[in-house]
């Protein structure tokens, strides 16, 4: 193979037809209310570790719907429950995190 000094770039496109959404589907079975997230961002805004570790339940939930690996974010959660308090849709975010950890295990 010839080294041209450049190669094909990896596409960042989300392909909804082919991406693996199985983790999300598993999660929905365990925590059906997770579907109700409307991406308001309250959880991320209030998250204790969000500003240091980039944690946000919204990003976790959206990420698994888009086939992203959210394990690092999950592991930074301290289960303090502030996100559960602020969620206007009443999603049990602590339950969501714990179940998602199980799915990852």
């Amino acid at each position: 193979m010839i080294d041209f000094g450049f190669t094909l770039s990896k596409s960042s496109t989300v392909d909804l037809t082919t991406l693996d959404r199985s983790r999300y589907d598993q999660l929905i079975k365990l925590v059906p209310t997770a579907r109700m997230c409307m991406n308001c961002g309250s959880c991320g805004a209030t998250c204790t570790v969000g500003e240091y570790k980039g944690m946000s339940v919204r990003k976790v939930l959206y990420g698994i719907q888009r086939g992203e690996d959210v394990k690092a974010m999950l592991s930074s959660c301290m289960l303090c429950g502030k996100c559960t308090m602020v969620c206007p849709r009443g999603i049990n975010t602590r339950n969501l995190i714990l179940n998602l950890c199980k799915i990852y295990d």
């Binding site: 010839i2 094909l8 770039s9």
Partner: protein, 356 residues
């Protein structure tokens, strides 16, 4: 795909193209990339169709490459364009046809900008006068040279020696048409057929017997992208875009690609080799690539010109598969003979993609 719907859109985007007396300007790069294309345009229009096409050696670049590579400001490019218009005016012409798509885009952009901002036109006129004591009239009609071949496509068809039809099967050849971005994406009404479903090349393909392929990434850029290619660190983006197009068109098994831009045929042609080297994948039949042509080259083949006089030996991807399908006679031994019949020697053949 509903053909009627496309025809309705095509009907909305027709432009007036005068039948004769055109002032012709060349592209900066086409003579290096596809050396016989511009010559063939003049040959076909002047000698086959009997049109008056005027050309002067005094014209320069339109500044398009520098403008799109961010090295000159728009006013400079406009002043260069003003000088080209001055040459046209001095020659007594009012219909202007550039051979380059980016030039065409720049001319349209300049004329539209002057229409919106007459004070800028006045300033450019002053610049030109200061620089070289020239004055100009704006062209009455502006068309890309592919618009002209489109305009005369049925006359070419009447004189055709070969059609875009598979000689063995009698089936129309499957042709991908690729339009240069600067043709109509900026000003859809200035292009034949508009920007979403341009008809300029599709019209030629249909007239000459071929079948146009509409594949999902049809509207996507060829990958040239000026700075994406010109800066080596960006070249991965350039080839990735080309790769995306080939992946998208592959299932349709195209027999050839027809283009109307200087950069597109070059990159669609050369990048097939690079992609083959990097991924081992080729997109034509039996290890070949998909041959890529300019519209002048296709017109030349249709009219029965010798493929080697059309400069097709300079393509990276072998053109022979298409020549065979069309039933074009050619002498394989003459492929690398110069105009004086001297041997030009053989290029090194890649292993990754089959060439002749």
């Amino acid at each position: 795909m509903i053909k009627d719907g496309k025809q309705k859109i095509w009907a909305d985007y027709q432009k007036e193209i005068p039948d004769d007396h055109w002032y012709y300007v060349r592209s900066c790069i086409r003579q290096n990339f596809f050396p016989a294309s511009e010559k063939m345009f003049l040959e076909i229009t002047r000698n086959v169709l009997g049109k008056d096409i005027y050309e002067t050696p005094h014209h320069t670049t339109c500044g398009g490459i520098a403008y799109h590579a961010d090295t000159i400001p728009q006013e400079t490019a406009m002043t260069m364009i003003a000088r080209q218009f001055a040459l046209m005016t001095e020659a007594g012409y009012e219909n202007y046809c550039p051979s380059c798509i980016t030039s065409f885009g720049n001319y349209v952009e300049t004329l539209e900008t002057w229409r919106e901002f007459p004070e800028l036109e006045a300033k450019i006129r002053e610049n030109l006068w200061k620089a070289c004591k020239r004055e100009f009239n704006k062209p009455k009609y502006l068309a890309h040279t592919s618009d002209l071949i489109y305009h005369w496509r049925d006359e070419i068809r009447k004189k055709a020696k070969h059609l875009l039809i598979n000689k063995e099967t009698g089936e129309p050849l499957r042709i991908v048409e690729h339009i240069g971005c600067h043709y109509s994406k900026m000003f859809p009404h200035k292009g034949v057929g508009g920007a979403e479903y341009p008809y300029v090349l599709a019209g030629m393909v249909e007239s000459w017997g071929g079948q146009v392929i509409d594949y999902p990434e049809r509207r996507h850029c060829c990958g040239f992208g000026f700075r994406q290619y010109l800066v080596k660190a960006n070249r991965g983006y350039s080839v990735s875009n080309t790769h995306k197009k080939f992946e998208s068109m592959e299932p349709y098994k195209p027999d050839a690609i027809i283009t109307n831009c200087p950069g597109c045929p070059y990159f669609l042609d050369r990048w097939q080799y690079v992609i083959a080297e990097q991924t081992g994948k080729t997109y034509g039949e039996n290890g070949y690539g998909i041959p890529v042509f300019t519209y002048e080259e296709i017109a030349g083949l249709v009219l029965g010109y010798d493929p080697w006089d059309l400069g097709l030996q300079l393509h990276q991807v072998a053109v022979e598969p298409l020549l065979n399908k069309m039933g074009v006679e050619y002498d394989p031994k003459a492929k690398y003979l110069g105009l004086n019949k001297e041997d030009l020697m053989r290029p090194e053949m890649p292993n990754s993609i089959k060439c002749c």
